[in-house]
Subunit: 176 residues, 2 copies
C-alpha cells in the first residue's frame, strides 16, 4: 500500500489553505477590534524587501493551483491578483480550494513519474513529478502560508499553531 498523489497534494493543500483562510479571518477581526484599517494589515511585511500579506496569500494560492494542475497536466484558472480586502482574499482561497478539489484522483494517477515543466524567469525547469511535489510544490506552498501566519502573528493577531494546524476544523478523526 502506498499513498496517492491526490492525498499528498489536493488533500494536503486544501486543508492548509482552509486553515489560512481561518487565520485571515482572525486577522480581519483583529483590525476591526483595534479599529484600524484592515488594509494596513494586508500591507504588512516581515522585512521591507519581503512581500506583504496580500501577496503571500496570492502566491500560496498560485503555488497550490499550479502544483496540482501541472501534476494533472491540465490548465489552472487564471486569477487577476487584484484582491484588495480580506474578504476578496478569502474568496480567492475558496476558489483555489474548489479548483484543486475538482481535480480527480484519477487524473493525478501516475503523475509521480510524469515530466513536469515549470517556466522560470530565463529557462524552463524540468522535474520528475514526485520531485516536483516533494521538493517544490509542498515546501513552496508552506513557505507562503507560514509567512502569512508570521506576518499576522508579528502584527499582534491572537493566533497560535493550533489555528495553523486545525483552525478550519480537525479534518481527521481522533479519540480522547
Amino acid at each position: 500500500m502506498k499513498i496517492s498523489v491526490h492525498a499528498a497534494s489536493v488533500d494536503l493543500l486544501a486543508n492548509s489553505l482552509a486553515n489560512l483562510s481561518y487565520l485571515l479571518d482572525k486577522g480581519h477581526a483583529h483590525a476591526v477590534a483595534r479599529k484600524y484599517d484592515p488594509a494596513l494589515l494586508l500591507a504588512a511585511r516581515l522585512a521591507p524587501d519581503m512581500f506583504p500579506l496580500t501577496r503571500q496569500v496570492q502566491i500560496a494560492s498560485d503555488a497550490s493551483k499550479f502544483g496540482v494542475s501541472r501534476l494533472a497536466g491540465i490548465e489552472a484558472p487564471k486569477f487577476e491578483d487584484n484582491e484588495q480586502t480580506f474578504e476578496e482574499l478569502r474568496a480567492r482561497i475558496a476558489r483555489t480550494i474548489d479548483f484543486i478539489k475538482g481535480v480527480s484522483a484519477a487524473s493525478l494517477e501516475g503523475s509521480e513519474d510524469r515530466v513536469i515543466k515549470v517556466p522560470a524567469r530565463d529557462r524552463t525547469l524540468e522535474f520528475k513529478g514526485l520531485d516536483y511535489l516533494v521538493r517544490f510544490v509542498i515546501p513552496n506552498a508552506f513557505f507562503h502560508i507560514t509567512t502569512a501566519y508570521a506576518i499576522l502573528r508579528h502584527a499582534g493577531v491572537e493566533i497560535g499553531k493550533t489555528d495553523f494546524l486545525v483552525g478550519s476544523g480537525p479534518g481527521f478523526s481522533q479519540s480522547a
Copy 2:
C-alpha cells in the same frame, strides 16, 4: 502507481531540514560579518510570545523525528534540547536527518493505515497514518522551518526563497 510514505516523509523532511541547516549557516555568517554575538540571533523571535530561533529549530527536528518514528512504529532518539550555538543546532539537524534516513521504506510500508497515537498535554490524539502525515507532521515541520527562516530574514540575514527551497542543493534533475 502511487508514492511511498517514505518519499512523502523521509525524503521531504530530510531535504527541507538540510535546507534549514544551510539557512542557519547563512545566519551564523551574518552575525560574524556584522560582528555581533551569534547567540543574539539564536535568541531572536518574531513576537515576544513566540519561540526564539533555537527552539524553532529544535521543534522542527522533533516534528521530523517523531513524525517518521511514529509512522514506522519505532523509538526516536532522544535529544537534550541543550544546543547553545549554530554549530550545535546544525549537528542536531544532521543527527535528525541521519535518523530519519535510517528508517527504511519497508518499515514505513502500510503506515498510511496504521493508528498513530500522539501524546498531547491532557490526552492522547489518535490519527490514521495518512492523516497524521498530511495534516500534522508535514504542516507542523514546515511551520517551524519557515518560522526559523522568517526570524533570520527579519533579522536582516540575506536569504531568499531559493535558499529555502534548494539551499542545500537542488536534489532533483533539471534541464535548461
